[in-house]
C-alpha cells in the first residue's frame, strides 16, 4: 500500500536535513563546483547530526533507518549542494551495502562504523575505457599469489576517488571471459602499487573527486576479497539500491532547487511592464515542471518504501531512475530558459543544476540499459501495471 504522507519521524528527519543543508551546504555549493573542490567538511557536519550511514544497522554505528529515510535526507541535501549529496550517498551507497550484504564480519566491523562516523568515504569502481555498460568486458586483472592478489589495470570514472580511503574495485579474478570471471576486492588507499590517477573533469558534479585508478602490480591482501569470481549477480541489487536511493533523490533535489529558483525569478523579473509570471506560456512551463517533479517524487517514494518492505520488482529501480533522470534534465533545462541570460551565467545556480543532472542519465546505469531491463520484465510477464 503506498503511503504518500510522511510519518512524524520521517517529517522530522526531512525537516532537520533541510535546515542543516540550507545553513551549511548551500553557501559553498557554487564555489565547490567552480573550484572542483569536494566539500568533505560537510561530511563531518552530516556525521555530527547522525546522517552518515543512517541506513546501516545500529550494530555498526548506523541508525537502522530505511531506504525511504535515506531518500528524504539525500534529496534535501541535494537541494542545497549536489556534490555534498553525492559524498553523503557514498557513506551508505553501493560499497557500504555490498560490505553489509556479503562482507565478512571482519570487513563489516572494520569499515562500516567509520562510514557511519563520517570518518571514511568509500568509492565504487566498476567502469573502464572498454567497459561501461558492459561490465563483463572488464579487463583489470587480479591474480592470486600466496596471501595476496596482484592487480594490474586502469579504472575509469571513479567518483570520490580523490577523497575516498576505501575502494570496492571490480576486476577479473578468473581468466574466463564475461561476467563469470568478474569479482571484487576492497582496496585501501595507501596500498603500494595503487595510485589515484589524474582528475577527470565532467560537465557537472565537478566536486566529487572523480579520477582514474591505476593498478601496477598492486598487492592486495587476500582477505580483502569481497565478491568472488562470478558472484557479481548476487550483489547487483546493491546497484539497484543506488538506482533508487542514491542517484534519483539527488536528481529530485536538484530539480526542486531549480524549480524554486525559476519561480522566484519569474515573480521578480519584469519585461514589457509586467512580471514574467503574468505570461501564460511561462505559467504553463511552471505547471508542467511541477507535474513532472511530483510524478518523479511519487515514483521514487513508492519504490523506496517498497525497498524497505523488500518488495521491489526488477522493474522498479530502472523505471524510477529513467523517469527521475529525464525529469530532472527537463526541469533544470526549462529553469535555465525561464531565467533567460541569467540562466547561462555562473553567478546564478541554473546552469550548474542542469550540468549536475545531465550525467545522471549516464552514470549508475544508462537510461538506455535501464529501458532494456524494463522491456525485458514486461515481455517476460513479470511486470504488470
Amino acid at each position: 500500500m503506498f503511503e504518500p504522507e510522511l510519518n512524524d519521524q520521517q517529517r522530522l528527519i526531512q525537516e532537520s536535513a533541510r535546515k542543516l543543508a540550507e545553513k551549511h551546504f548551500k553557501p559553498g555549493a557554487a564555489r565547490a563546483d567552480r573550484e572542483h573542490a569536494p566539500p568533505v567538511g560537510n561530511i563531518k557536519v552530516l556525521a555530527e547530526h547522525g546522517f552518515c550511514g543512517m541506513a546501516l544497522p545500529e550494530a555498526y554505528g548506523g541508525s537502522d533507518l530505511g531506504v525511504f529515510e535515506m531518500v528524504l535526507v539525500i534529496e534535501q541535501v541535494a537541494r542545497a549542494c549536489a556534490n555534498t549529496a553525492m559524498l553523503l550517498s557514498c557513506t551508505e551507497g553501493a560499497t557500504a551495502r555490498a560490505i553489509l550484504q556479503v562482507g565478512s564480519e571482519a570487513q563489516k566491523s572494520k569499515y562500516l562504523p567509520k562510514f557511519a562516523r563520517g570518518e571514511s568515504l568509500a568509492a565504487w569502481s566498476m567502469s573502464e575505457a572498454n567497459a561501461g555498460s558492459d561490465v563483463g568486458a572488464i579487463e583489470t586483472r587480479a591474480v592470486r599469489d600466496g596471501e595476496h592478489y596482484v592487480v594490474n589495470g586502469t579504472k575509469l570514472w571513479c567518483s570520490f576517488a580523490s577523497v575516498a580511503d576505501l575502494y570496492l574495485v571490480l576486476m577479473r579474478l578468473d581468466p574466463v571471459p564475461g561476467m563469470k570471471g568478474i569479482g571484487a576486492l576492497l582496496v585501501e588507499r595507501d596500498t603500494p602499487g595503487f595510485t589515484i590517477g589524474k582528475r577527470i573533469d565532467l560537465i557537472g558534479l565537478r566536486a566529487t573527486g572523480m579520477s582514474e585508478l591505476l593498478f601496477e602490480d598492486c598487492r592486495v591482501p587476500a582477505e580483502n576479497l569481497i565478491i568472488p569470481a562470478g558472484g557479481i549477480g548476487k550483489i547487483l541489487s546493491v546497484l539497484d539500491a543506488d538506482r533508487i536511493g542514491g542517484n534519483p533523490p539527488i536528481c529530485l533535489g536538484v530539480a526542486g532547487a531549480a524549480f524554486d529558483a525559476a519561480v522566484r525569478h519569474l515573480k521578480d523579473r519584469s519585461q514589457f511592464g509586467k512580471p514574467l509570471a503574468d505570461n501564460q506560456g511561462l505559467q504553463w512551463k511552471l505547471a508542467d515542471m511541477a507535474i513532472d517533479i511530483e510524478a518523479g517524487r511519487s515514483l521514487l517514494y513508492r519504490a523506496a518504501q517498497r525497498a524497505d518492505m523488500h518488495k521491489n520488482s526488477m522493474a522498479d529501480a530502472p523505471m524510477v531512475k529513467t523517469f527521475v533522470n529525464e525529469m530532472a534534465i527537463r526541469v533544470t533545462n526549462q529553469a535555465i530558459q525561464l531565467a533567460g541570460a541569467s540562466g547561462l551565467a555562473e553567478d546564478f545556480p541554473f546552469e550548474r543544476h542542469f550540468r549536475d543532472v545531465r550525467g545522471m542519465a549516464i552514470g549508475y546505469g544508462t537510461t538506455e540499459l535501464l529501458r532494456n531491463t524494463v522491456a525485458r520484465e514486461i515481455l517476460a510477464g513479470r511486470y504488470l501495471p
Binding site: 505570461n279 547561462l344 546552469e351 538506455e368
Partner: protein, 382 residues
C-alpha cells in the same frame, strides 16, 4: 523548385569544409582549452589568403560581397568545429555587421575602415539589466549637450566589450517617444572618460560577456549613426541577419557534426558483443537528428535566399532561428547520450557542442519571444 546548393556555391562550400576538417577539427584535440595566440594569428592570416574575410561586406568596400545564401553555407560549415569559442570570430577576420557597413564619410573613415583593415575591434551594446527581451525597457540615456551627447546607463552581457576599441551603443535620445522612435545608435570609443567595463560574467559556455557602465560619458554628436530614433531599425538589421546565420546556420553545422560523431562512435563502440549502431534506439536517435536537420536547413536557406531577393524576412528569420537552435541542442544532447561517459568529459569535444549550443535558445531572442512574434503573424494572416 531546385533546393540544391547553387553550382557557384558548391566549390565554396567544399573549400570551407576542407579548411574546417584540416585546420580546425584537429585543434579540438591538440589545443582543447582554447587556441594559442600563435595559432590564432596563423589561422587569421590563412583565412585572409583564402578569401574568407569580410564575407558580408560589399565588394565596393573590399569585401567578398557574398550572398546571404552563401553566408549561410559558410556559417554552417564553419560551425562544424568547436575549436573556437562560439562568439570568437577572430580567426575569420574583422567582424563588421549590418550597422557599421552602412557608415559614410567621416564615420566610415574613423570607424568602418579601421575595422575592415583589422585594426579596430567593435562590440554591440544593447542589453541592459532591465532590458533583455524587452529592449523598450532600456534606460541608458543620451542627453544632448551642445556638441555632445552625455551618456548615462549600464549595459550587461556585452560580448567582447573588454577587447573592443569602440561600441555601437543603443541609447534613448527621446524618452517621450521611447521605443517608438526614441532610441538611437551611437558610436562610443571605449577609452572615453566615463566608460568602464566593470565586470565580466562567466558563463556555461566558457565566454565572459561584460557589464559596461556609462557615467557622464561625453560623446561627439557626430558619432550618432543615421538620425535620432534610427536605433531600433539598425539593431533589427543586425539581429535579423544574426538570427539566420549565427543562430540558424550555425545550428545546422552543429547538428551535422553531431551526426558525424554520433554515427561514427555508434559504429565503432562495441558493448555486449555488438556495436551500438545495431541498437534500434540509437538508430532512431540518429534518424531523428538527420530528419530535423534537413528541416532546419531548408528554413535557414529559404530565409537567406529571401533576403537575397530583397524580401522582408521578419517571420522567416524568427522561425529559422527558433527551430534551428532547438534542433541543434537536441542533436548535441543525443550525440552526448550516444557517447555515454566519454560524452560528459571536458577532455572530449562532445560536451562542448552541448554547452556551446544551449545559450542560443536564449540569446538574441529567446525561443519564447520568437513564438510570440510568429503567433502574431499567424493571428494576423489566418
Amino acid at each position: 523548385m531546385d533546393f540544391s546548393v547553387p553550382e557557384e556555391l558548391r566549390a565554396f562550400q567544399q573549400m570551407v569544409r576542407r579548411f574546417v576538417d584540416k585546420e580546425l577539427i584537429p585543434l579540438e584535440n591538440t589545443e582543447p582549452r582554447g587556441l594559442l595566440p600563435a595559432t590564432r594569428e596563423r589561422l587569421r592570416a590563412l583565412t585572409r589568403d583564402m578569401g574568407l574575410w569580410l564575407l558580408d561586406v560589399p565588394e565596393s568596400l573590399g569585401g567578398q560581397g557574398l550572398s546571404m545564401l552563401g553566408q549561410s553555407i559558410f556559417w554552417e560549415e564553419f560551425s562544424r568545429s568547436v575549436a573556437t569559442l562560439p562568439r570568437d570570430f577572430y580567426i575569420i577576420g574583422p567582424v563588421v555587421g549590418a550597422v557599421l557597413v552602412q557608415l559614410k564619410g567621416e564615420q566610415k573613415e574613423r570607424y568602418l575602415d579601421p575595422v575592415l583593415r583589422g585594426e579596430k575591434f567593435p562590440c554591440f551594446a544593447q542589453t541592459e539589466p532591465d532590458a533583455g527581451t524587452d529592449p523598450a525597457a532600456m534606460r541608458t540615456r543620451a542627453v544632448r549637450d551642445g556638441d555632445h551627447y552625455v551618456i548615462n546607463g549600464v549595459k550587461r552581457f556585452i560580448t567582447d566589450a573588454e577587447k573592443a576599441d569602440f561600441a555601437q551603443v543603443m541609447a534613448i535620445t527621446d524618452p517621450v517617444k521611447g521605443a517608438r522612435g526614441g532610441v538611437s545608435c551611437i558610436l562610443v570609443d571605449m577609452d572615453t572618460p566615463g566608460v568602464k567595463v566593470t565586470t565580466q560574467y562567466k558563463t556555461m559556455m566558457g565566454e565572459s560577456p561584460c557589464e559596461v557602465v556609462f557615467q557622464d560619458a561625453r560623446v561627439p554628436v557626430k558619432n550618432l549613426i543615421g538620425k535620432e530614433g534610427d536605433g531600433f531599425r539598425l539593431a533589427q538589421e543586425w539581429i535579423t541577419r544574426g538570427r539566420i546565420l549565427r543562430h540558424g546556420a550555425r545550428s545546422c553545422g552543429v547538428a551535422e557534426r553531431c551526426l558525424e560523431m554520433g554515427a561514427s562512435y555508434a559504429k565503432q563502440r562495441v558493448t555486449f558483443g555488438a556495436p551500438l549502431a545495431d541498437r534500434q534506439s540509437i538508430q532512431w536517435m540518429l534518424a531523428d537528428t538527420y530528419t530535423e536537420l534537413q528541416a532546419a536547413r531548408h528554413l535557414v536557406r529559404h530565409a537567406a535566399w529571401k533576403i537575397d531577393q530583397g524580401e522582408d524576412v521578419r517571420t522567416e528569420s524568427h522561425i529559422a532561428k527558433m527551430y534551428s537552435v532547438e534542433m541543434g541542442f537536441r542533436a548535441a544532447d543525443r550525440c552526448l547520450q550516444i557517447h555515454g561517459g566519454i560524452g560528459l568529459t571536458t577532455d572530449f569535444q562532445v560536451e562542448k557542442f552541448w554547452r556551446d549550443q544551449r545559450p542560443y535558445l536564449i540569446t538574441e531572442g529567446a525561443a519564447e519571444v520568437m513564438r510570440m512574434t510568429v503567433a502574431r503573424h499567424v493571428l494576423k494572416h489566418y
